[in-house]
Amino acid sequence: MLAAILVPIIVVIVIIVIILLAGVGIYNGIVTMRNRIDNAWSQIDVQLRKRYDLIPNLVETVKGYAAHEKETLEKVIAARGLGMQAQTVEDSAKASNMITGTLKTLFAVAEQYPNLKADQHFTKMMEELQGIESNIAYARQFYNDTVLSYNTRIQTFPGNIFAGWFKFIAKQYFEIEEPEARGPVKVQF
């Protein structure tokens, strides 16, 4: 008699506990993935900062040889400033694309100054910049991969239910605009 009452109750309790545990697991999984995005973002940030640090030096060196290319140099500085102020991923990505673009112009300009091209300091910075550009590309790839798996998780069942309850928002990708910007800047000496 007692068993007839207890068994269904125990079964129900067990089912509830299982559902709760599964819920905790899914929730923790999503939070872990979100934290991984922060980590991936910091990888991009490190590389972007390295580039920010390098640009003033580069501009100074170019100035020494090609002072009247003011417009190009200012554009590079402006893009750098924009990048440093950027608050969102979207803005950062935009500024980063701009920097890549303006640097490309700068290198095209540098082509016309043989003395500049012969400057060892300049050559070294160019090499370093190339390394940073390709590292940015790699970091972006890792970041976007991480965002992709997070976004997929919170947009598919059962993650989407949790996303609704706990306000998990889809993250932005670090995008590049022009297709030709997909590779690192090619520099010819």
């Binding site: 991984r36 980590n39 991936a40 990888q43 590389q47 390394g131 390709s134 590292n135 590309a137 790699y138 970091a139 790839q141 890792f142 991480t146």
Partner: protein
């Protein structure tokens, strides 16, 4: 991915426990024999077992923390600095960013055979080892493929299991060798000197039996390695590596070149399984090599990668042969 990390940790724990038990049993057996032979109390068996147990536990801890250094020493690898080879250094740096792991150290083995492996206990303490031959003979995309393959071994803790197996199997092999030799030389010495000390004969007989048991076990242990470091693992590292570079053809072309000359002279039975391709090359002289290959057939790996690449960037056999020839010519010029 995360399931594989857990599985690798579990297997590592399992194999260490197996090793500790094995050594303890060995200590007990020897102690038991001494008790029996010399009629002492039963204390020696327990004493030796405890002694063996302590040694085995110390060895296990030691191999957890130092196995990577031992493996590097065994294969004669030396660190590669950024100044010495910026090409390889920056490649490793960029690819580890893409893989989302800290940058591993890069070591080089001064050998012309083309091969590579990774070792360490976790991504924070990992080393990628390349031979001089692989650095010199592969182009950028191919070398990136190889490094990415090793990085994915690091990322999912294949390196922990692989490296610990090297040390533990190495130790079992050494012990079985000592026992076997002590029987052969011990036996010979006694027979030539005198027959008065006939008891020594029995002693060496037991050693022989133990040694034989160990030797008989070695292939089984080796087989376990082959299963633990299963073929599936190499396929997975191939595809994960291709995911990092986004260029499966790079690794496919690399494997084609590697398969022509992958011999590493400092490699041995204990370290074989950690290499990207068998360090014994194709003409392996190890018994049962066909049955117990630690690596899946390289042709099959190339085929899978080529399918992944949809044919983009895949080099034909003729192109590979031509490049190999060019590299040889450059080498000849450098020598002359």
């Amino acid at each position: 991915m995360y399931k594989r990390i857990a599985s690798n940790r579990r297997r590592t724990t399992f194999i260490i426990i197996l090793f500790v038990m094995f050594i303890a049993a060995l200590g007990f057996a020897i102690g038991y024999y001494i008790d029996y032979r010399y009629g002492v109390s039963q204390e020696y068996s327990i004493l030796l077992m405890v002694f063996a147990l302590i040694i085995a536990i110390i060895a296990s801890f030691g191999s957890y923390f130092y196995s990577d250094k031992i493996v590097l020493g065994l294969t004669g690898a030396a660190p590669l600095s950024r100044e010495e080879n910026p090409r390889v250094y920056y490649m490793a740096e960029g690819l580890s960013i893409a893989a989302g792991i800290p940058m591993p150290k890069v070591f080089v083995i001064e050998e012309q055979g083309m091969n590579a492996f990774a070792t360490g206990r976790n991504p924070g303490n990992a080393v990628v080892v390349l031979t001089r031959g692989i650095i010199n003979n592969l182009d950028d995309e191919e070398l990136k493929g190889v490094i990415a393959h090793e990085l994915s071994h690091i990322k999912n803790y294949d390196i922990l299991l692989g490296t610990i197996i090297v040390i533990l199997v190495g130790m079992v092999t050494i012990i079985s060798n000592i026992m076997f030799r002590s029987f052969i030389f011990g036996g010979r010495g006694r027979s030539s000197s005198s027959n008065k000390n006939a008891g020594g004969g029995i002693f060496s007989l037991v050693f022989m039996i133990l040694g034989l048991v160990l030797i008989a076990l070695s292939p089984l242990i080796a087989m376990y390695i082959r299963f633990a470091v299963s073929r599936q693992r190499e396929y997975l590292a191939d595809s994960n590596g291709a995911l990092i570079t986004r260029y499966p053809a790079g690794l496919a072309n690399a494997l084609k070149k590697i398969s022509m000359y992958s011999e590493v002279r400092t490699a041995n039975n204990a370290t074989e399984h950690i290499f990207i391709a068998s360090p014994f090359g194709k003409n392996t002289k190890v018994a049962f090599s066909g049955l117990f290959n630690s690596h899946p057939p390289i042709e099959e790996r190339i085929k899978r990668l080529q399918e992944m690449s949809l044919g983009i960037g895949v080099k034909s056999e003729a192109e590979i042969a031509l490049e190999a020839q060019k590299n040889n010519e450059i080498k000849q010029e450098e020598i002359s």
